[in-house]
Symmetry: C2
Subunit: 217 residues, 2 copies
């Protein structure tokens, strides 16, 4: 059965990106420090068509994120710059011609655009009628495999608020960003029960995995 899973890294104060996001700092001031733990791993390098890197307790987290993924959901800001060439259809994502998804990717946006087929099995579909529709399309496309949520925070929040997220892993890096984009915001009415299912303590990061169960209506 398809499970919808998100795995994101936050600072100790809960931010997925620091303050003053913009072209020069796409992850905000200090935001790049959130991802050192991942980028230094061989498993991450390999997924991004690079070489080198180390193996440690976080390796399993990267491997799990890539395992059994039949479709991806992501927000528009994950796909394209905050400003710049978006509506002119020249933008083809951050990842080159062979993106590391190898599955259909459903991008939440307000701008209609024809599907964009890349190499290696990745096709970007642009969904303009909301997160529930994107999730329905992703379930159909996943064909029994899981749905991976690429982020960002707003997309994760919408999936939690609608009870559609089954698993949330928060990788907590012990830094304070003091501002920016918080992962968990405005979710006081989310119709879910949450339970910790695993703690994984790794160098420079602590991975907390939670199961979310939607309340019955």
């Amino acid at each position: 059965m398809t499970r919808t899973r998100a795995s994101l890294t936050t600072s100790l104060d809960g931010y997925v990106a620091g303050p003053d996001q913009g072209p020069e700092h796409p992850l905000g001031m200090g935001g790049m420090d959130l991802h050192t733990w991942a980028m230094e791993l061989a498993a991450w390098q390999e997924a991004h068509a690079s070489e080198g890197g180390i193996t440690n307790a976080s390796t399993t987290v990267i491997e799990e994120m890539q395992h059994n993924v039949g479709a991806v959901i992501m927000g528009r800001n994950m796909f394209s710059p905050l400003r710049g060439p978006w509506q002119d259809e020249s933008w083809r994502g951050w990842w080159g011609e062979d993106p590391p998804f190898h599955a259909p990717v459903f991008v939440l946006t307000h701008h209609p655009r024809a599907p964009l087929e890349m190499q290696g099995g990745t096709t970007f579909h642009f969904v303009t009628d909301g997160v529930v529709s994107a999730h329905e399309q992703a379930v159909a496309a996943a064909d029994g495999k899981d749905i991976s949520v690429g982020g960002g925070a707003s997309t994760v929040q919408q999936l939690i608020a609608t009870g559609l997220l089954d698993e949330l892993q928060i990788s907590v890096v012990p830094i304070l960003l003091g501002g920016g984009e918080r992962l968990l915001d405005g979710l006081g009415d989310a119709p879910v029960s949450i339970e910790l299912t695993r703690v994984l303590d790794a160098p420079g990061v602590t991975h907390l995995r939670y199961r979310l169960v939607k309340h019955r209506a």
Copy 2:
């Protein structure tokens, strides 16, 4: 050597109290659910002159909080109601005549008041010249033992921002409050390096302990 330690419980979205704090909901809507894990423990009941309760992996957390404490620092809202009898000197704290501190307690406030000596070794001192002064007085009073920070969030934030907090334990309860008082806010310029020193996974709560080290000027 005196260490300054804080141990607080937050929701998964980082709140120490829920929205709409007031006389009927001193911890805000849903905020009481943060403390179920502690209040059900025999160690907590005993410290609050009660009986019964259970023992589990969280017991050690409660015991550590009470161990080797020579002084306490707390914010004014921890000592008295948000509204009501405060300046008339009739308020003697939430805890009855024998409070569970058994040490000098330094209350951060804007209202001068004579020290209030209670039973069992607790004396409340009201400090009006800021957190650094309160910390200095607490260090002197602790006489080599540790300083326990009772909260709330603002007091913890001031101690982190001044580099005076040595240890922060965050007990994360997997609920979403969606609003209220966040533990870690506005700390982007805090002059500290942070390192996880222990993870303790217990029923209904995950205890994350961090060491904070102040940067050299």
